[in-house]
Symmetry: D2
Subunit: 242 residues, 4 copies
Amino acid sequence: MKKLFSLLLLFCAIQLAAQTKDPKDTEVWEPEPRVVTPGTMGSPPSDAIVLFDGKNFDEWITVGKDTKPGWKLEGGVMTVAKGAGDIATKRSFGDCQLHVEFRTAAVVEGEGQGRSNSGVFLQSRYEVQVLDNYKNRTYSNGQAGSIYKQSIPLVNACRPPGEWQTYDILYTAPRFNADGIRVAAGRITVIHNGIVVQHNVEIQGTSEYIGLPKNIAHGNAPIVLQDHGNPVSYRNIWIREL
Amino acid sequence: MKKLFSLLLLFCAIQLAAQTKDPKDTEVWEPEPRVVTPGTMGSPPSDAIVLFDGKNFDEWITVGKDTKPGWKLEGGVMTVAKGAGDIATKRSFGDCQLHVEFRTAAVVEGEGQGRSNSGVFLQSRYEVQVLDNYKNRTYSNGQAGSIYKQSIPLVNACRPPGEWQTYDILYTAPRFNADGIRVAAGRITVIHNGIVVQHNVEIQGTSEYIGLPKNIAHGNAPIVLQDHGNPVSYRNIWIREL
Amino acid sequence: MKKLFSLLLLFCAIQLAAQTKDPKDTEVWEPEPRVVTPGTMGSPPSDAIVLFDGKNFDEWITVGKDTKPGWKLEGGVMTVAKGAGDIATKRSFGDCQLHVEFRTAAVVEGEGQGRSNSGVFLQSRYEVQVLDNYKNRTYSNGQAGSIYKQSIPLVNACRPPGEWQTYDILYTAPRFNADGIRVAAGRITVIHNGIVVQHNVEIQGTSEYIGLPKNIAHGNAPIVLQDHGNPVSYRNIWIREL
Amino acid sequence: MKKLFSLLLLFCAIQLAAQTKDPKDTEVWEPEPRVVTPGTMGSPPSDAIVLFDGKNFDEWITVGKDTKPGWKLEGGVMTVAKGAGDIATKRSFGDCQLHVEFRTAAVVEGEGQGRSNSGVFLQSRYEVQVLDNYKNRTYSNGQAGSIYKQSIPLVNACRPPGEWQTYDILYTAPRFNADGIRVAAGRITVIHNGIVVQHNVEIQGTSEYIGLPKNIAHGNAPIVLQDHGNPVSYRNIWIREL
């Protein structure tokens, strides 16, 4: 009888336990994220495709030609050579994390859009403006960190002429349906020198100097760096496909 | 007559020009983004609120008490003192960019969730997990870079024990309507050691060890750092309100 | 002994149960959604603010004046009276679900933008175009169901002239920060005659006939219906604040 | 001379015009949205795939078998036959607009989750709950209009037992990367009897009765209607691929 009683006690204890929620219930074990070794001091993460490490133009061609870029390559840095044309990656990309370092000219020349103008084009179409806007006013939707002629940066985070600057970009490509109508706009986050200047912004369409953005269906496409005739320099460019 | 003819020619030329679109049409000059001086080598941008610069606990209190944090402060670094409790900022925040540097213990102790466990809570409720997951398996939605028990990080970007690591966080607070129903989830982007691990992810609700996330209407609230009983260190914490 | 054995069996059964996750763990009971009685055959839901039920202009004024609208009111229908001006709700709104029924002129006059042109403006600024585009071509970003001069509708879902049509609109207002910079674009979903034509689209800024959308910080604002000089009719207009 | 003067005047006038922005600059003519004839009184739009028009089960099979559904078909209406099992469309779908009409049992039986329980599964995995919650309390994240055990509806928009009700659903499928990690959650808008109850909500993962939502990479998949043992009826089901 005594035994029966203690068994009943046990029974109650178990029931109580059964009613208690278990922290294990909200654990999710799969999938396990793969390991990536982060970079140090600007070096790329282990899973990045290095687009430029200062050694050569192996990942690049001149836009519109199938030739090696005519940009200057010196001291681990590439610099726009006026007239050499835009350069594009050989590979095509869609959704990605892109790291770019750039340097505007130490000797200030020109003003407004004329001062160290260049640009980083996602999918060859959507431009994150590169410009020296350190104490240099231009239209807000055309300054450094803007989605060119579309989205004003949240703040002006430019470093002075001649200093290295960074763009860390998170990019989601637009989607088009079978009618060729864009059903989801592209989205972009841009961190300029560690400061968010575009925060999950919808891209209206192609970057156009004249007229409105266009939306014509497309797939993956190269990253393009612009020759706008000014000696802007680039180094340490890498990309991770998302 | 000849003069008239040339004037007519001019007239036509002008009309042509009138039909040409003008690049100025797509310039937007207002508002002008305010200037922010970016930091260098981890120093905060000029518009950041510095929450911890290694000198004191002026911006912090112990959670649940109104007392100065009992964490260790040494060499510009603060370290969890087991049992001293979670600490919170005196100020409250909503949408923000948050930079945090943390270091897991150089001497490895424990495993799974027991190894250098801590956490950064946005609005005192939503946890970005801090944990030593360098060659330390735990449930995927509970590892470093996870939104604790909600969102698995895209990759495992941990540095080895004893090394400084960074979280750069973009956070948009949830919105609630007059019924107390959440009409827009919070959203978060987390960059861990320079690698995106949460990309514009919706936060399901409060971080819970047991049971489901909760969604109870709230306003701005402090950032909280967790005392989970392990000697995790922090330094260089700053925030920008968005 | 036999009793003991069966108790042990019971014990095992219970332990098994204790290890099984409980469906109750993922039940959320609070908050309880409030009850709304849906409408029937176009009548408004019980929690809607009825903006026009065919009886009077009590909820409306002429824009720019503080006068009763000069539009025609007949048979439960209001119709643009050319030159009477745009009309606005007396109340201001932000996030909302808006139901509007409209009828283009049975007798077709004009073409392109000249045929039964009107518009529904959210927050007095962001226009969902009203136009007779039944076999009437105009620019794609200006046809019925477009966000005027910003977003082309996914399809052309127009009914023939003289038939009643519906817009069911889900609208989230833009948010601006203390700098007056827009930190979140407005978002809109438009269902035209039961067919989605705008699917969670970001609004670029104010609807402009000439030039680009503008983004100047604002709060809640009235719904406006446009007098574009064409005899477009409206009925059964209601709104729910979200 | 006088002529010359008037020509110069003209010249100035034209120049002025040239400086004025042209409304044509913000017209976009391509692509032209294709024409869709909207339905009337519940009939499907011209571009919809009709999944059920009351005549037959041609578009459906029993889940897990390759057999014709065992549900009742009578008077243009199909009704769950207890034990006949869930039914699925033969075709698979991704992003879509889905219209479903359902009727809970006129004779009220059971309570809570036991009263006219059924469900509409997007991509065979993500359930919009069907239930008679007219004066019938259950857990909030399990009532009609919920994303089952994930998202509480904004309001309770149920019609009384025995009346036809509608779900109008806008659905965007989740996206997975090559690692099998979900890089974009699915998104859903649900309009219940004309009232928005889910507004662009992220779907956490699969609908689970016990335990947490799961996220395992998948492609397009059938729409499924649930046999939960209660005689819920369906009619007029159509889908448009987005």
